[in-house]
Amino acid sequence: MKRSMKRPVRRPVKRLPPALLHWLAPALLFFLIYLGWQWIALNFKSILPPFGALGAEFLSRPGFYFDNLLATLQAALTGFALGSGLALVLAVLAVYFTVLRAAIVPVALLLNVTPIVAISPALIVAFGFNAVPHIIVAAIAAFFPMLINAMSGLRKVDRETLDVFNAMSASPMEIFLRLRLPGALPEIFAGAKLAITAAMVGAIVSEFMGTSRGIGATIVMATTFLNLAQMWVAIFVSALTSLALIGLVVLVERAVIRW
């Protein structure tokens, strides 16, 4: 038919460049959230503090927040190092010892579904009022995401490349270092990003009890004194810190993975 042969004439539409749109869309959403926040803060004073009050609170005593953030960071990063380090070692061993893999997966799953808040008091009873319970909770939180990601990354290896290695009798160590480990790096970094956030959350939740220092303790303290501004500054400080930590991992990832 003649009509169907006719191409629809497209008028060139003026569009925003996609890159700009990419930035504009979230910025707009943030602005809407800000407006909503401010509306609630002005009409229901007991629910949210206005942003101005947050800024004033932070600027009135930045040292207080840095001190507490430092305590949380210490627990979170130590826990991250221990938890994800142990997870990596176990993931490597699990590649070679299937029995080990069969043994750790259920235990790790159980650990993962156990609410951390429930472990925390028990750890405080066991280790006392010091950083150890918080480090342990952060380590447990970081352990699982790293274990699962590293195991999945290390387990899969390109069969045909493996044939090339085996045909020239490459040693198991060479196969691990030159094939398996580099191939698993993307998944290990994905695990690290999840693990470092989980460690932060773990440390903060653990600090709800058994300590007077840390972002978690700051939040609890603010609750006691009904200090909404302090509570929300603490929350924003921890969120921005987690974001920065992920950014740090991404930077290392970009430096290491260049393919």
Binding site: D158, T161, D163, V164, A167, M168, S169, R178, W259
Partner: protein, 265 residues
């Protein structure tokens, strides 16, 4: 047993699949000369890959014996004297092309010090040049086309300099035009080095074009049906490949394959 030949005697391989035994290869007896380009040709499932993997020492045979210039596959592999070219290129995505083709220098270093070593490694840059990859030595595999990656896999095998090169359908994932170009490259490089090659394909044209001998195999169970010598002159210039003699050989190989089908149970 003369040590300048590849000897295969009474070879068979049974796989165990879900408790059932699968006879993948049976009663294979043949022998190839040093410097020969041999093609294993036949339909899917006739045991071509299995035979190649047995030769590489990647699998153990159920019965029979293999001697690669006097050595077992395990011994030859320990000396890095077997180069394997898989169906997918099997390159390391994180390594440059040059690092990839020099892989053999990084692995199994003990073989380099063995008193009975037999390999003659080739210069990576020269092999890259012969395969038309010299401008991409620093590129990573992801930046290359499929045909270039496959050429890189072949380059890696030539750089290793093993006496025996085993290639399992290395071009089967390429489109027809690319395939043709890469085959010609392989021919040129091989005619320069004259290493013993055992090449698996299910393309009759590829088999005739490349080889000195086509080993026609049949399935269920996999076995060697007949061997067809390809006595076309070398180098296999475009003139040779367009000649009536080439077409006659192609017809002969296809005919033997059909006879193999009729012969099969």
């Amino acid at each position: 047993m003369p040590s300048d030949r590849i000897e295969i005697r009474d070879l068979s391989k049974t796989f165990d699949r879900d408790g059932q035994s699968v006879l993948a290869l049976t009663g294979v007896n043949t022998s190839f000369a040093r410097g020969e380009f041999v093609t294993l040709f036949g339909p899917s499932g006739c045991g071509k890959s299995t035979l190649l993997r047995l030769l590489a020492g990647l699998e153990r045979q159920s019965t029979g014996e293999i001697r690669l210039f006097g050595q077992t596959p395990a011994e030859a592999s320990r000396l890095k004297n077997i180069a394997w070219v898989p169906q997918s290129p099997g390159l390391l995505p994180w390594a440059s092309l040059r690092a990839n083709v020099r892989l053999s220098e990084r692995l199994n270093r003990r073989a380099d010090r063995a008193p009975d070593r037999r390999r003659t490694p080739e210069d990576a840059d020269e092999v890259l040049r012969d395969l038309g990859l010299e401008d991409f030595a620093e590129a990573r595999p992801a930046q290359l086309s499929g045909g270039m990656r496959q050429r890189a896999a072949i380059a890696r095998a030539f750089v290793q300099g093993a006496e025996l090169m085993l290639m399992d359908e290395p071009f089967s994932a390429l489109d027809e035009l690319t395939r043709d170009a890469v085959r010609l490259r392989l021919l040129q490089v091989w005619e320069k080095h004259r290493k013993t090659v055992i090449f698996v394909t299910h393309s009759a044209a590829e088999a005739v074009m490349l080889s000195d001998r086509v080993v026609v195999m049949t399935p269920r169970p996999g076995r060697v049906f007949r061997e067809v010598p390809i006595d076309l002159p070398r180098p296999r210039t475009p003139d040779v490949l367009d000649s009536p003699a080439f077409d006659a050989k192609l017809r002969e190989v296809k005919h033997v394959l059909r006879a193999g089908w009729e012969d099969a149970p």
